[in-house]
Amino acid sequence: MSDAALAAPRVKAKVSSEDWIMRAVLVGIALYLTVSILLPLYAILSKSFKNADGVFVGLANYVNFFSTPALFWSIQNSLTVTLICCVIVVTLAFIYAYALTRTCIPFKSLFKGVALLPILMPSLLPAIALVYLFGNQGIIKDWLFGHEIYGPIGIVMGECFYVFPHVLTIMLIAMANSDARLYEASDVLGASRIKTFFTVTLPSVRYGVVSAFFVCFTLVITDFGVPKVVGGKYNVLATDIYKQVVGRQDFEMGAVVSMVLLLPAVFAFAADRLVQRRQVALLSARAVPYQPKKNTAVDTGMLIFCCLIGLIMVSILGMACFASFAKFWPYDLSLSLKHYNFDLMDGGSWDAYWNSIELAAWTAVIGTAMVFTGAYLVEKSKGFHSGRAAMQLLCMIPMAVPGLVLGLAYVFFFNAPGNPLGFIYHTMPILVICTVTHFYTVSHLTAATALKQLDGEFESVSQSLKVPFYKTFFRITVPVCMPAILDISMYLFVNAMTTVSAVVFLYSPDTALASVAILNMDDAGDVAPAAAMGMMIVGTAAAVRLVHAGLTRGILSRTQAWRKR
């Protein structure tokens, strides 16, 4: 090897026109995320250091926050209810998931479906149902032994119901990733069932448990719907932001509370990402799925447990449903549709419902297209490593930002005088942008997972055949990933229907939304119509889920005939 050869110039790969197209689109989506998440976050951060006149005041607002006990106590309140919820939900979901995966109870898919019901509703709805069950005129208020539902008890009950399906999903995945060979080994070595549980089951799901804990923590501490309805005088951070901004018009203090709420959310998010990275290495490709064996005592116990949880799920939804039809609770319980006449109510209208449908449809269409294209470019484009890494990071940020913080950040950013994008403030587009961004991360991860399962050489083959990447994208990548694409669009649609937190600061009289209408009608004392609007959302979300299931099945059987052997 001669020295002259070593000193030869480095080869600079020619960037083809296709590469330029890919980079341009990638930069475009990255710019979108910069405008829709980074800049608003900067706006809210800087707002927290300014006074009402926009003058920089350093930490004065923070000093004010920490020296006002009424505000400061919210931190402790938030952490208290959140930690209690985490312990309760993670425990219950663990047992429920264990029953569904490791025992021989009947009706497993029914139990799974029932437990996922809360995903279909805004968190306001279970809180309203709790008021009907345990409120001053509640049918089983005695069960609280004289305690009031308004306060920490109500918040904990409502949140437990609301986050249960999210935690359960993580647990089910963790439990499904079990290796039957370990159980056989434990069996052969003569370990008892209890010992096997502590030496095999628990260690294999420990990352799932930790991950579930963090997800539960984030969901509860950032949720706004439940404490808004049943929080009473018990202040938590999420309701404080709303009260500061909507009630007292103190935007600066709202920004400070947002920053305080952002901290634990970011921390939980970062911790969860770390844990998930380790979980991947746990599963070997040769693992054998576990087949539960019959055990009458355990199975019976688990069946009773699942029935109880399922009963709670169904009765809370059933209560909300009944309340929406009861003529005049609790005096005249005959059924009527009068609460569905939203146009007569203060704070609600049928327009709000149709606006929600419009928002959800736009979010599903635009969001899915953008998320999938972005994930494709991050996963499959060549070179441009710094750009792809930056994009990857941008995609992760939305998950760490609570909806209320995002919504308020939009107010500060888009409503700032001189912002050239200010014209979209108070319009449908800003609601779509906000919602797409709010739910970007989970959608991106779903798309990335599906794309990672494709053969990495599809792009190389197309290049060698001189077929442009976009043709392969539309002819191969999109059709093969269609199930994941449908999953993403359904996820975006349902969440756009149910979300309250981010959009509550952004709607205008022309773009009122169904979920916000629940909030406003409940505020105005029209609780039954609020429940009725909630049922409209549940019904719509359920219908979309059914359509999604049908579409997925149809597509799998028709265009994806290749999946069959």
Binding site: S460, V461, K466, P468, V480, Q560, R565
Partner: protein, 371 residues
């Protein structure tokens, strides 16, 4: 190895270096491939053979060096501006397209009339004998059939160069042997210049016109299968291709080499070596000549173990002459005898025989790291 003076080669690779961060996967590699030739890159995993193939394809462009194809400098071009077809180990068949659509994929983009495309696809499917499978999806085919679809797809656009990246390693042994004949026949029929990456020496020996043996990012030897097998340029090649005995030897004053205390005639192979130099003496197990008459030419050895390997027997032997003579530290000396020869000699464990090392089969290397 590189015939720099020859300007007529179809593919000219010059001083190719590829670095992945600190790791150097290819070190200053140069190579010529003639038009219509079937060349195999052979080497253990991590030797750089796939890296070299991907550099030629433009999929992972080299850090330094040039690649010319048909007189055109393609060193920095993206794959879609080069002229090649490729078959990957995974085949990368499009799962949602039928066999026919897979093969037509590259043609449909070229604004060819539909009828022409259909004719070309039909011709290709005939070529790989898959006409009756045209409407099936890849997942409905066997591994060998999938492999042939990938081949047909790569050939569809009539590229000037065919690249095969371990195309047979995902298949069963029997299918593999069958397909390697088919691929070779097909290649000869169309006359397409072909480069195949493989770690299977048998595959390389059976298919290639020329073999490029690689190790640690450099080319160890380039030559026809016969040359590579009969005259390995380095101990690595001798060891990697087939089986070879490596024994310690010492150059004697009379121009012979002492092995296990017995003088062996090695002829011109000792040029440049001085008496007293330590060398490595190589001979293939099947080239050792065995006789049972005591006192004949060769090294007296005792057979310690006989392995029955079907068509031949492999004997493991140790020297018997006194004074603790050995072939070297931890050296397992093997002799292969055909079943018939072993029967004639009455080979069995514990038997003493004479093992002669014929000069024409013996090769001498300086010990690795030695002077």
């Amino acid at each position: 190895m590189a015939n720099d003076g020859n300007g007529g080669a179809y593919l000219r690779v010059r001083n190719l270096t590829k670095k992945f961060g600190e790791f150097t996967a290819l070190k200053n590699v140069s190579l010529d491939v003639e038009e219509g030739e079937f060349v195999c890159f052979l080497g253990p995993s991590g030797c750089g053979k796939t890296t070299l193939l991907r550099a030629i394809a433009g999929l992972d462009i080299q850090t330094m060096g040039t690649v010319e194809q048909a007189g055109r400098d393609i060193s920095n071009l993206p794959p879609n501006e080069r002229d090649f077809g490729i078959v990957f180990q995974s085949y990368a068949l499009f799962p949602n397209l039928t066999v026919m659509r897979n093969v037509a994929y590259g043609l449909e983009n070229r604004k060819m009339p539909k009828a022409d495309i259909a004719a070309r696809v039909s011709e290709l499917l005939d070529l790989v004998s898959l006409h009756d499978q045209a409407d099936k999806y890849p997942s409905q085919l066997s591994g060998g059939q999938q492999q042939r679809v990938a081949l047909a797809r790569a050939l569809a656009t009539s590229p000037g160069l065919l690249l095969l990246d371990e195309p047979l390693s995902a298949l069963d042994a029997k299918v593999r042997v069958h397909l390697r004949h088919e691929i070779k026949e097909l290649q000869e029929k169309i006359g397409i210049t072909t480069i195949m990456v493989t770690h299977d020496q048998e595959e390389a020996l059976a298919m290639a016109d020329r073999i490029v043996v690689m190790n640690h990012g450099v080319i160890e030897q380039v030559g026809s299968p016969e040359e590579i097998y009969a005259d390995p340029a380095s101990p690595f090649v001798a060891d990697f291709i087939g089986t070879t005995n490596f024994v310690d030897g010492e150059v004697r004053a009379d121009g012979q080499v002492s092995v296990a205390g017995v003088a062996i005639d090695c002829g011109a192979a000792l040029d440049g070596l001085n008496p007293g130099d330590m060398v490595t003496v190589c001979i293939r197990p099947e080239d050792v000549q065995v006789s049972t008459e005591g006192g004949g030419a060769g090294i007296p050895v005792t057979i310690t173990d006989v392995e029955f390997l079907g068509s031949f027997h492999r004997c493991h032997v140790v020297p018997v002459n006194g004074a603790g003579q050995t072939f070297g530290k931890d050296i397992d000396f093997m002799i292969d005898l055909s079943a018939g020869r072993a029967r004639d000699l009455g080979i069995r464990e514990g038997m003493a025989v004479q093992a002669a090392l014929p000069p024409e089969f013996v090769r001498i290397y300086r010990p690795v790291g030695g002077a």
